[in-house]
């Protein structure tokens, strides 16, 4: 077995600001990896580089396709990368408005990836959309409702349904619980955890919420100023932090 995605020696600067400094990450099939760190530590930049949206100045990212072939992400033609984003990969944005088409009904949003994958049977697409709405705990009776009439939590769940409908193997999530209130966050995390286990997804999760990382992630990567300062199993990193910054991070969490 080999990793789905492996990055080595990633480097990226914005002017004098170092966004990524010699970063290496691996994601294996079926595992959830959380990237934690404070604002400006390079988490989101790392996610954008790993998902092929932004090329790094140094290092490389290797992707393994379902047939086992290795591809260097930034040497792939744009058409292949785009296809990858619509089939084997998914991206869940922090703000559901970035990942959804707000003027298109919930069913159409879920159907888009299916139609991009070549589905041309309306009844079939609609049945799959209704099934996925039920899976993310949205009443399938609202299949024709526009997402702009959904609550924030529902929009986020719809975005997840839309991403997972083509059964990707690897999903990137950028602060999926950001901007939601605590009880909605808890339900969403619970749902993501269920889906990840059920579908055997690999997830790369960016978050500043340590408790979300503890709940979902198998492994944690801690970033500070563009560097990976600590990485390891979630329990190990959070219960026995070695690096001073990780220690600060874990002790900063308020317990209610």
């Amino acid at each position: 077995m080999s990793p789905l995605l492996a990055a080595q020696g990633l480097g990226l600067r914005f002017g004098t600001v170092i966004a990524l400094d010699d970063v290496a990450v691996e994601i294996w099939p079926g595992e959830v990896v959380a990237i934690v760190g404070e604002s400006g530590s390079g988490k989101t930049t790392l996610l954008r580089v790993l998902s092929g949206m932004m090329p790094p100045q140094a290092g490389r990212v290797l992707y393994r396709d379902p047939e086992g072939g290795q591809h260097s992400l930034f040497d792939m033609p744009e058409i292949a990368l785009r296809r990858l984003h619509r089939s084997d990969w998914g991206f869940v944005y922090q703000n559901p408005r970035d990942g959804l088409r707000l003027g298109i009904s919930a069913g159409g949003n879920i159907g888009e990836r299916l139609m991009a994958a070549g589905h041309r049977n309306y009844g079939h697409i609609r049945a799959i959309a209704a099934e996925w709405l039920a899976r993310v705990e949205i009443d399938p009776g609202r299949i024709d409702t526009l997402p702009r009439n959904f609550s924030g939590g529902m929009q986020q769940r719809l975005q997840i349904a839309r991403t997972l409908v083509t059964s990707p193997r690897l999903v990137f999530m950028d602060e999926p619980t950001g901007g939601l209130d605590v009880s909605v966050q808890a339900r969403l995390l619970d749902m993501i955890r269920g889906l990840v286990a059920e579908l055997d997804l690999a997830v790369l999760l960016v978050t500043h919420d340590i408790s979300a990382a503890r709940l979902l992630a198998h492994r944690i990567v801690v970033m500070q100023q563009g560097r990976v300062v600590e990485a390891g199993l979630t329990d190990r990193v959070l219960d026995d932090p070695q690096h001073p910054y990780t220690q600060l991070l874990t002790t900063s969490v308020l317990s209610a």
Partner: protein
Amino acid sequence: MTTAAGYNFGYLDENSKRMIRRALLKAVAVPGYQVPFGSREMPLPYGWGTGGIQVTASIIGPDDVLKVIDQGADDTTNAVSIRRFFAKVAGVATTERTAEASIIQTRHRVPEAPLREGQILVYQVPMPEPMFRLEPRLAETRKLHALADYSIMHIKFYEDIARTGHIATSYNYPVMVDDRYLMSPSPIPSFDNPKLHRMPALQLFGAGREKRIYAVPPYTKVRSLDFEDHPFQPIRADGTCALCGSRESYLDEIVTDDRGGRMFICSDTDYCGTRAAGQEAAE
């Protein structure tokens, strides 16, 4: 053959015509692909057929016979003025008979009579990009064409069916050309879409304001987009032409009074007139 003094043959100068012909050659070579061209100022406003008139001006020769239709009719303002324009600046013969024309410039219709090899159909196109209502960034739509990624068009149809139970696009119905490029057939009724498929005549499309030319060469496959379980269905008013009795042609509905009176007549005046004359002769 006389042309108006002070004008080059066909109004446009020779260099502009060459530029447009180069774009036309490229458009024919890549069926359905929108080729940018340097659209010129024409002596009529955008939206009145500046694209079509430039295409016609660059392909027309002294021996051509021109027919111009607007919504199928030869006697509407747009058709009359464009026909008169070319009679003046190119001195060519004009006709209202589909079979006699070598070039037919059209707005919003394809003639009912089947076209033959050697004829050229020139469409006036207001908006060449079929996806512009769905994706406002033209740079992005160009990318979607390059990647042949037309799923957003299907989303639009999905939404139509979800709301109304059928694909609610009755004109400007998008087509796939040669299984590669998604193309706007210009605002012709979807009734006319099947005529584009493997048509023996050359079809040229000119969009003056948007500065794009595209083409469908003779006998090219043109398929209207649809779903497997909601196949493409051309829309025709359920009626009979009051003048010639046609049950096959595309009909215009005309309100005759303010008490709900109405009648249907053929939108293609040449087709209707020819049929009516034939019936009179038979009597």
